[in-house]
């Protein structure tokens, strides 16, 4: 300011460069190097996250003796590892089917029951609503280990030990995390919509089914996908409730392969890797198909939590 008042045009004064220009020049010089370093760091981290999965797939296709060799592609690509795995572990097909059944039922039941409860909290006025909702939130903090033993005893006394039922049926009773999430979405719906339906004589159940659910489809898909993943990857419940090998889900089956003397004990790690690939691939497909929902779900729970 002072310079301008004195009538001096800075750009013509030798030795006094415009500070803004200097920083701009410095920034573009360091910017070029900076961008290269930035790109390299980003790529290095990406490799760190992707490479183990690439290695997993590669190892599942190598001859057994070459699993630990440094090259990704072995002396031959052995797709036969997968058929050998199925020969050695004839139950693998049932494991896959069990996983599909359990995670499908778990996801459907938890989505519907949580949506029902969430709507109850979002729409109705009733005494002590906030206190009750506080209880819902509090159960999220409860470590699973505290209820694990009695839950085991309950299902056992009902005659469901060594069946697939305990792996999903608990989801009939909604889940705190999903109630919390869906409630946020239901609260976002304009109340007028429901009042109009009520004037037309729609029951509350119908309002839930024909107005609330269709309008929150994206959120319901988030819940469905989250639970599909949670159930598919779960080890604890199958470990507690299943005894018969035929009833195992994929993670439980994979654990039995890790612990087995006939496969891992004999050093057939290529078969272990093939089993891990089959366990993982459905989740990767699910993720690529539902990526948008995954990201949305995680980001919103984080910012609202």
């Amino acid at each position: 300011m002072a310079l301008r008042e004195e009538g001096i045009d800075r750009s013509f004064v030798p030795g006094i460069a415009d500070p803004a220009q200097v920083t701009a020049a410095r920034r573009s010089a360091s910017g070029w190097i900076g961008r290269v370093v930035f790109g390299l760091v980003l790529i290095a981290f990406s490799v760190l996250f992707v490479f183990p999965l690439v290695w997993l797939l590669a190892a599942s296709l190598k001859p057994g003796a070459e699993v630990f060799s440094s090259s990704l592609i072995g002396s031959q690509i052995q797709v036969s590892n997968y058929t050998r795995l199925l020969d050695l572990v004839p139950q693998f097909g049932s494991w896959f089917l069990n996983s599909v059944i359990v995670s499908g039922l778990a996801a459907v039941t938890v989505t519907l029951s949580s949506a029902l409860v969430a709507f109850g909290f979002a729409y109705f006025r009733f005494p002590y609503r906030n206190v009750v909702f506080g209880f819902v939130l509090a159960t999220m903090m409860l470590p699973g280990a505290v209820t694990m033993i009695p839950t085991f005893l309950i299902w056992k006394s009902l005659g469901f030990y060594n069946t697939l039922v305990p792996l999903w049926a608990g989801n009939l009773f909604a889940s705190a995390f999903y109630i919390f999430m869906l409630r946020q979405f239901f609260l976002g719906l304009p109340r007028d919509l429901f009042e109009a339906a009520r004037v037309d004589g729609a029951s509350y159940f119908r309002m839930w089914r024909s107005i609330a659910l269709p309008l929150t489809k994206a959120a319901l898909i988030v819940v469905f996908i989250f639970e599909l993943r949670a159930s598919w990857t779960d080890l604890v419940k199958p470990l507690i409730f299943l005894r018969d090998v035929d009833l195992f889900t994929l993670p439980r089956g994979l654990l039995s392969i890790i612990a087995s003397s006939s496969i891992t004990g004999e050093g057939h790690f290529e078969l272990l890797m093939a089993a891990a690939v089959i366990t993982t691939i459905p989740m990767l497909i699910l993720f690529f198909l539902g990526q948008r929902y995954f990201v949305e779900g995680i980001a919103t729970t984080g910012s609202k939590g």
């Binding site: 009733f126 280990a145 505290v146 009695p150 309950i154 009773f173 439980r252 890797m273 984080g302």
Partner: protein, 313 residues
């Protein structure tokens, strides 16, 4: 002073017939959760508290009262103390690791621009990998001649026996756990994108350097999500089970010394409950964990009041 006659009995808003109807419907909608709460949460909590004062035998169905014996045993049990020590060690490395690396990657993503989505996907891939598959994969990667040691050897570092040397199994578990930090990155990245860009411009005009901008703008603005990420990771890391079980306690060939050195709290609890069938003692372990998690959560909530910045006051 009051215009309301003292004789009026206080009426609740829910005493009118239409409001009652609404309450009944609310009960219908809430019924799955209410049943679930009593049958699968509150009931089991009380039951496990009761069991923790007995030497419950799941085969005979008897529960002889032993008073506080299980809790006294817990305080004297070297294995329980080892499991707790290992869990604290794990948590103290895992949580800062998750948050620092996660925040670093989220900051990187903010500078990528349009391609950020691709990298976000890449960082999240490990999170969709089933825990047991991660365990199987890291058994290979961390084995004596595995990928990690091949890398360490290439740069001339020494190559520990990650899976068998008792001094190295806990660091191995931490390394494995840091592979899955995609959720942390996504949450922090979403938070970073909400920081108003004008704030940075104003700070730059005031001559704030990059660190000062980070310290005084970024951190306060994302302190809510940052707090969320810390609490969630902390609670989860106290309860880590599946990956570790698949690599050590659930794998007989891991050998007793590695199984012992890698013993964490929930795996130990699981052993006591479902392998030794000492369900009374296991319930005491579970309640001790509950108290630990509760204390940690309350301390975090108290701390958050001091350092979390809320935009809306």
């Amino acid at each position: 002073m009051s215009a309301v006659p003292a004789t009026t009995t206080r009426q609740h808003w829910w005493s009118s017939p239409s409001a009652r109807r609404e309450v009944r419907w609310a009960l219908f909608f809430l019924s799955p959760w209410i049943i679930g709460f009593f049958v699968f949460t509150a009931g089991p909590m009380l039951w496990s508290l009761f069991i923790s004062f007995t030497s419950y035998d799941p085969f005979k169905g008897t529960a002889p009262w032993v008073g506080t014996d299980n809790y006294a045993r817990l305080l004297a049990d070297p294995s329980a103390q080892l499991a707790l020590r290992n869990t604290i060690f794990f948590t103290m490395l895992h949580v800062p690791g998750q948050v620092i690396v996660g925040l670093f990657l989220a900051l990187l993503l903010t500078r990528v621009g349009r391609g950020a989505g691709i990298f976000r996907t890449i960082f999240y891939l490990p999170n969709v990998t089933p825990a047991v598959a991660i365990g199987a994969l890291f058994l290979m990667i961390l084995s004596a001649n595995g990928l990690l040691n091949q890398g360490l050897e290439a740069v001339g570092l020494n190559t520990p026996y990650w899976l068998t040397d008792p001094n190295w199994v806990m660091p191995a578990i931490v390394i494995m756990s840091l592979w899955t930090l995609g959720a942390t990155v996504i949450i922090l990245f979403a938070a970073l994108r909400n920081v108003p860009i004008e704030m940075y411009e104003a700070a730059r005009i005031d001559g704030a350097n990059a660190w000062q901008q980070f310290r005084n703008i970024t951190v306060p603005f994302i302190s809510g999500p940052l707090f969320f990420v810390i609490v969630v990771n902390l609670i989860a890391s106290l309860q880590i089970f599946s990956e570790v079980w698949a690599m050590f306690q659930g794998r007989p060939s891991a050998g007793p010394s590695a199984q012992r050195a890698s013993l964490l709290y929930v795996p130990y609890l699981f052993q006591k409950a479902f392998q030794d069938f000492q369900m009374g003692y296991a319930s005491a372990l579970a309640w001790a964990l509950f108290v630990i998690v509760l204390v940690v959560t309350l301390v975090q909530l108290w701390l958050s009041k001091r350092w979390v910045y809320y935009e809306n006051g």
